[in-house]
Amino acid sequence: MALLEVRDLAVGFDTEDGRVRAVDGVSFDVDQGGALGIVGESGSGKSVTALTLLGLTRARNADITGSVAFAGRELLGAPERELRQVRGGEIGIVFQDPLSSLHPLKTVGAQLVEAHRAHRDVSRAAARERAAELLDLVGIRDARRRLDSYPHELSGGMRQRVMIAMAVINEPRLLIADEPTTALDVTVQAALLDLLRRLRRELGMALLLVSHDLAVVAQLCDEIAVMYAGRIVERGPTATLLEEPEHPYTWGLLGSIPRLDRPRARRLQPIPGRPPSAIDRPSGCAFHPRCPYARDEHRRRGPPLVPADPEADQGHQVACLLGRSARRALWAALRDGGDPEEAMRRAGLADAGEGRA
């Protein structure tokens, strides 16, 4: 049994403009000690997914269906009392913006102590000790002095380390990180990822990392799930997804990453178009308006998430109506540096033009 089992999770909100289906039927597992990364653009529903696991979704009129089983216990619909035990105790969570996520009027130490004493019956002094330990653990110098600092007195990187310390102070079994490095600059980012990797190892924690940055996710996670328009469109082991992706959106993501190991002359290929409106989803395959390879049919039929290679292991799944061979051919062409036009020609999909929406 996996540590976290999510089945058909769907989250909808009622807004002034209509009903928003932020998450449209998502299923995944996180193993004990494993690491899953969820990648997607803004509006793909990845953050909402992460927050909903702990019952933290903002709007009070959210319509949540599906199942979230943690260590065998169902979390959705569980009473607040139970959820409170899980939050901060067994599942920790780190948010994107540490400046706004830390309470501005309380010292760092006070916030850590609070987090610890919410789940352990210890004295204030003992909790303070532990807080200092944690600051040390996350690599903050002068830990004891730092306890009395206020969030605004620290740099961005340090703040995020504090958030991480707060999330792991009770040695949770799962750490959820929602865009942990997005608000930080690149060098700090690398250090933070190092920290997460180390903590995972030292504490034996499972990790659920949510990010729009494929590169970040690739560094830390064993498995990656790509979300688009509230659904998972491709999932598989990290190596597989990086070497043999089979969804046009994933190709787009990979193509648009600047890489140091490719020649500079090679142009980045951004994915054309904009993320779909969450209220008015495109019919059929949600990606079809932006897919260079889309066909007429793709407007009408929605692709199910199925194993990429029915004969091989079930680990790699993709939701695309193009056949396997077409996909592999396209990818081969793209990998060698071609652009979508070229790729289509080489893959023999000459009549792909009519598919464009």
């Binding site: 996520s101 002068d142 002095r145 007195e153």
Partner: protein
């Protein structure tokens, strides 16, 4: 490891203390300058645009021009305005001499000194009442938005804000005062004046406190409600929940402190203004306060008292502003820089 070197906390703290002291000193000086300016402006206003010539007012029924002139000279009103202004400002700030009230036959300082404690007792008590009420009502409303309780409370607040203080005072007397009321529970109008000792005086202030506090409680409740709702939608509240804290702790220890800051500003302003503004409550309940003193001075054209009370009120507002600023620095560490 990181980019810029981190500032060491130790040095920052002692620097902060010095900065705080400097901050206070600067504000105090500025407040003093402000008060001098206000006293000068008040003086000029009342002397350059007279509605009632104090000499004529003193001269009685059928004064001859000679009598009026003699009185004017006697009162020093025939000296050039800048001389009078200089004398006045000097008198106020160097000798604490706020002038002499001819109508009340007493130095203005004595009149003010007599009445200030009464007003302070009134508004301090009322403030306690309305803050407590606002805290309870605002918190209950904010944590149950849209519920029946919330709607009822906010409707009640609207009614409380709309009810004129004077009317409320009369109604409370006709309902609860021991001499006029249908349910004689509390001391009535004028009881404060004749009360002896702290306990009796406090008893006589219960109705006035409630009456004065009512509309403020409503306003503050609404303010707190919206502030709290905003705070509850902040990221750090989400973090607090994510830490597994009880909802009560989240609301009271995380959201409330952040929501309280705008209330502190308003409180400072309100208290400063109430020093001279609780006229209606003071009148209805027969409390000898500064508000009434100022009002009666205006009615009778008692220039010296008007000037004196204006100055006292300005000082109260300026002082409260200073207190509020200091309070901010205590509540919000971000301000201390």
């Amino acid at each position: 490891m990181g980019a810029a070197p981190e500032p060491t906390p130790g040095r920052r703290l002692s620097g902060a203390r010095a900065a705080m002291a400097l901050f206070i000193a600067r504000r105090l000086l500025w407040t003093l300058v402000l008060l001098v300016a206000i006293s000068a402006i008040t003086f000029l206003l009342f002397h350059l645009l007279p509605a009632a010539d104090p000499a004529v007012a003193r001269a009685g029924r059928q004064p001859t021009p000679e009598q009026v002139a003699a009185i004017r000279e006697q009162l020093g009103l025939d000296r050039p305005w800048y001389v009078q202004l200089g004398d006045y400002v000097r008198g106020v700030f160097l000798e604490f001499d706020l002038g002499h009230s001819f109508i009340n036959e007493a130095p203005v300082g004595e009149l003010v000194g007599d009445r200030l404690p009464n007003t302070l007792a009134l508004i301090a008590g009322a403030a306690v009442v309305w803050l407590l009420a606002a805290l309870v009502v605002g918190t209950v409303s904010a944590t149950r938005p849209g519920s029946r309780a919330d709607r009822l409370l906010m409707l009640g607040a609207l009614v409380a804000i709309s009810a004129p203080v004077y009317w409320l005072g009369l109604v409370s007397l006709y309902l609860f005062s021991s001499d006029l009321g249908v349910l004689p529970l509390l001391p009535g109008s004028g009881a404060y004046d004749t009360a002896d000792g702290v306990l009796e005086k406090a008893g006589a202030l219960v109705l006035p406190w409630i009456v004065l506090a009512t509309s403020f409680a409503a306003i503050y409740a609404r303010l707190l409600r919206s502030g709290l709702r905003e705070a509850l939608s902040e990221d750090y509240v989400r973090t607090a929940r994510a830490k597994g804290l009880s909802e009560r702790r989240v609301v009271l220890a995380h959201a409330l402190p952040a929501a309280v800051t705008p209330l502190v500003t308003v409180l400072g302003m309100d208290l400063g203004i109430l020093v001279g503004g609780a006229i209606l409550t003071e009148t209805v309940f027969g409390i000898d306060g500064i508000g009434r003193l100022a009002f009666e001075a205006v009615q009778r054209g008692d220039l010296a008292t008007i000037q004196g009370t204006t100055l006292v009120l300005a000082a109260a507002v300026a002082l409260m502003n200073l207190v509020v600023d200091l309070l901010y620095a205590v509540i919000d560490p971000r301000v201390r820089r």
